[in-house]
C-alpha cells in the first residue's frame, strides 16, 4: 500500500509537466496577436513592437516556456494583460469562490444521488425505482446551464425567493456564512448539483443492485437475518466507490463550472476563464487552466489513495 502510494504520487509529476506544456501551448495555438486585448485599434506597429518586448512575446517558444515554468514553480503565474493584476492573486481568490460553490453542490448532489440511487437499487424494478432512475437520467441529460436560467426566471424574477447573481450583497470579499449569504448559493448550487446527482444515483443504483445480487447477501437473507444487516452490508460495500465517484465529481465541478458561473455571475474560476477568453487575456487563461488542472490531478490522486486505503477489495 505504502509503496503504491509513493509510486502513485511520483507518477503525478510527469503528468503535471505534461499538463503545464499543454497550458503553455494553449496560448500559442491561439490565432491573432496575444496583445490584442490591450492594443487599441490604431496602435502603431512601433507601439505594438514595444509592448511585445515588454511582455516577452518576442522570445522563442522554448525560452518562453522555461521562463514561464520557472516563474510558475515560484508561484508566479504572471500578470493579467487586461487588468495588470497578478494572475496568482486573481486565480486564488476565484478558486476559493468556486471551491465553496462546488463543495455545496457536491454535498447536495451526493446526498440526493445516494438517496435516489439507493432507493432505486434497493427496490429494483419497482415504480419507485422507475421514478428515481428517471430523476437520475434527467440529471445527466438536461442542459444544466439552461435549467439555471429557468430557475432564475422562476425563483428570482417571478417569486423573488433567491437572488439571481453574485456572491453575497457585498461581493465575495465580504462573504460570511450566514442566512443572508447562503441564499446566494441556493440556485447556482442546485443547478450545479444536477449532474453529479444523476451520476451518483446511477452509480449507486448499479452498486446496490450488484451487491444485493451477490450470493453472500442472498445467503444472509435466506438465513433470516434482518433487513438492517443487509442494509449495513450494502452501505459498507457501496460506500468506497460512491465516495470515489463523488471525489472525482467534485474535480469536474471545479473545472466545469464555467457555464453555471456565467449564468449566475458567480465570481469564480469559470467567470475568470470566460473573461479571459473573451478579452483574449492569455496569461490569465493559461494560469486559470493550470491551477484548475492541478487541483483536478491532486484531487484524483487523493481519491485514488483514499479508495485504496478504504476498499479492502482493491489490492495493489
Amino acid at each position: 500500500m505504502f509503496a503504491y502510494a509513493i509510486q502513485r504520487i511520483l507518477y503525478t509529476l510527469p503528468v503535471m509537466l505534461g499538463v503545464s506544456v499543454v497550458c503553455f501551448a494553449l496560448v500559442h495555438i491561439a490565432p491573432g496577436d496575444p496583445l490584442i486585448s490591450i492594443l487599441p485599434p490604431d496602435a502603431s506597429s512601433e507601439l505594438q513592437e514595444r509592448l511585445r518586448i515588454l511582455y516577452g512575446f518576442d522570445r522563442s517558444y522554448v525560452e518562453q516556456f522555461f521562463m514561464w515554468l520557472a516563474r510558475v514553480l515560484q508561484g508566479d503565474l504572471g500578470t493579467s494583460i487586461a487588468s495588470g493584476r497578478s494572475v496568482t492573486l486573481e486565480v486564488s481568490r476565484a478558486v476559493g469562490n468556486t471551491l465553496m460553490l462546488a463543495a455545496v453542490a457536491t454535498v447536495l448532489g451526493f446526498t440526493l444521488g445516494c438517496l435516489f440511487g439507493f432507493v432505486a437499487g434497493y427496490f429494483s424494478n419497482s415504480p419507485l425505482d422507475k421514478l428515481a432512475s428517471a430523476a437520475a437520467v434527467f440529471g445527466v441529460s438536461v442542459p444544466h446551464y439552461w435549467l439555471g436560467i429557468v430557475l432564475v426566471i422562476v425563483f428570482s424574477v417571478g417569486l423573488g425567493w433567491f437572488p439571481s447573481s453574485g456572491a453575497g450583497p457585498g461581493g465575495s470579499a465580504n462573504w460570511r456564512f450566514d442566512y443572508e449569504h447562503a441564499l446566494y448559493l441556493v440556485l447556482p448550487a442546485i443547478t450545479m448539483a444536477v449532474i453529479p446527482m444523476g451520476i451518483v444515483a446511477r452509480t449507486v443504483r448499479a452498486l446496490v443492485a450488484d451487491i444485493l445480487a451477490q450470493e453472500f447477501v442472498i445467503g444472509l437473507r435466506a438465513r433470516g437475518l434482518g433487513q438492517f444487516h443487509v442494509f449495513l452490508h450494502v452501505v459498507k460495500n457501496a460506500a468506497p466507490t460512491a465516495l470515489a465517484v463523488m471525489g472525482v465529481q467534485m474535480g469536474y465541478l471545479l473545472g466545469g463550472s464555467i457555464l453555471i458561473e456565467v449564468v449566475f455571475s458567480w465570481p469564480g474560476t469559470g467567470m475568470l476563464l470566460n473573461t479571459a477568453i473573451f478579452q483574449r487575456d492569455l496569461p490569465l487563461l493559461q494560469g486559470t487552466i493550470l491551477v484548475l488542472a492541478t487541483f483536478f490531478v491532486v484531487l484524483n490522486l487523493l481519491v485514488d489513495l483514499l479508495q485504496t486505503a478504504l476498499d479492502p477489495r482493491i489490492k495493489r
Binding site: P41, R50, V157, S165, G166, V262
Partner: protein, 546 residues
Amino acid sequence: MSYARYSRQRVSMAILAGTTAFVAPAAAVAEESVLRIGMTAGDIPLTHGQPDQGFEGNRFTGIPIYDALTQWDLSQEDEPSTLMPGLATSWEIDPEDDTRWIFELREGVTYHDGSEFTAEDVVWNVEKVLDEDAEHFDASQVGVTASRMPTLRSAEVIDDYTVALYTSEPDSFLPINLTNLFMASPDHWAEKYDETGDSDEAWSEFAADPSGSGPFRVTGFTARERLELQPNDAYWDDARTPTIDRVVMRPMPDANSRTAALLSGEVDWIEAPAPDAMAQMEGQGFVIYSNPQPHVWPWQFSFLDDSPWLDREVRHAANLCVDREELSVLLNGHMGIPQGTVGPDHPWWGDPDFEIRYDPDTARELMEEVGYSSDDPVEVRVQTSASGSGQMQPLVMNEYLQDALAECYFDVELDVIEWNTLFTNWREGADASSANDAHAINVTFATMDPFFAMVRFLSSDAHPPVSNNWGYFTDDEFDDLIAQARTTFDPDERDEALGQLHKRKVEEAPFLWVAHDAGPRAMSPSVGNVVQPQSWFIDIATMTME
C-alpha cells in the same frame, strides 16, 4: 513623500471625525441612498485613471473618479455633447509654435488623498504613458491612452497653474483627445511606491485604492466583482457634487443575467438591456433611457480593384435601399437614424449634397445605370461578428440588410466571425487573407473625436496596418481636407474645415451608414434626475436616488 503621507492621514482623520460626528447620532444609516449599476463589461474597468473596456470604462471608472483637462458637457439631452473646460480653464495654441499648446489650469482643486492639483501633475500624468524613462511609466496604460492622443509628445511646466503640451505635428484635435487623459494623484502614487518599492506594484496598489479629483472617491474595490464609490464632498464643481451616498458597480457581461438582476431588484440600473426584455422591464415600472450616441454602425467598403463598391452609384444605391425606420423596429426603436457620420445639428455636418434616405426606386435606377438588374445582381461579401462592444444586434441587423438590399439587386453574403478576430482583421486590411475576400467590414466606432470619426478611415496615411482605413480609400482631395482641419486652430474654423470633410465624405459614401447606437439603459424609477446626453457617457454625479 512624508508630506503626502502626513496630509493623507490628516484627511482620513477628518473624514473619520466627520463620520462619527454626523452619521452616528442622526442614525442616518437607514436612510442611506445606494445606486447599484450592472455594467456590460466582464471585469471592472481599470481604476488607475486610464480605464480599459472601451468607453464603458471611461463612463464608469474614468469620469466619476477622475477629471481630465477638458471634458464633455453631459448636461444636455437635445443637442450633441460638446467640449468644455475641466481641470483646464482655457487653452490656446502658441502663436509662434503650432505644435505647442498652452493650458491654464483650475486653482484650488484637490485629489481624494488631499494633495493639490498643479501643473507638475499634468506633466507627471503625461509622462506616465509617454516617457519610458520616468519612474512611474506604465506600459499597460500606454495601449489605451497613447492611441487616443496620437500626436501628443510631452508636457512642460510654465508656472504652477500653466502648462505647455507639445505635439509631433500641428494638431487642432488635441483638446478633444485630452478628454481621455485622466489626472491621477502623483502624491498618492508616490506613497504606494514608497510602500512597495516597485513601479508596477505601485500602480496595482493604486488601482485598488485610487485617488483622482473627480466627484466620487473609491471606497471599496473587489476585483472582477464590485466597485464602491462615495461622494467627494470637496469636489470643485458644486453642481456636480453627488447627493447619492453610495454607488456600487458590478460587471455583468451576460445580458440575461443583467435582466434578471434588474427585474429581481438586485441592481437599479443596467446597461444595454436586451430589446426583447424591455417590455417586461417597462411592465414592471422600470424606465428605459436612450438617445442617439456619437457612434456609427456601418459597412465600411473596400476600394480594392475587385470591389463592387468602386462605382459611386453602387455605394449610393446601398445607402438609399435601407428602410432604417423599419430596422429600428427590430431594436424596439432604440436606434438613431443616420444621415452621415454626424447629424445636421452637429458642428461638423457641412451640409452634404447627397441625402441618405430610403428611396429604393432611385437606388434601383442607379444600379441599372451601372448595369445591374434582378437577373444580374452584384455579389457582395460582408465580414461581421455575432456580438461585440458597440455592435448592437449585429446578426439581426445584418440579416435585415441582406434582405433589404436584395430589393436593389445586391446579393449579400455574410461572413460571421468572432468579435476579437473581426477587430484584428480591421487593422489588417481588405487585401489580407483574413478578410476572406470580403468587400465590406462591419465594425462600429465612436465619433466624438475627428480622428476616430473620419480621419483614420479616409487618410492615405491610415492604410493598414497603420490604422483603420481597411478598404484603402485614397483620395488627394481628402488628404488635403484633413491637413486643413488639423492645422486650423480656431475651434469654429476647425469645425468648418471638418464640415467640409464630412460633406465630401457623405457625398463619396465610402460607408453604408446604417444606424447610430442609442445606448439604451434600464433604470429603476427611484433613480432621479437622469440626463441621457447624446454621448457615450452619462453623468452619475448629478443623479438622485429616492
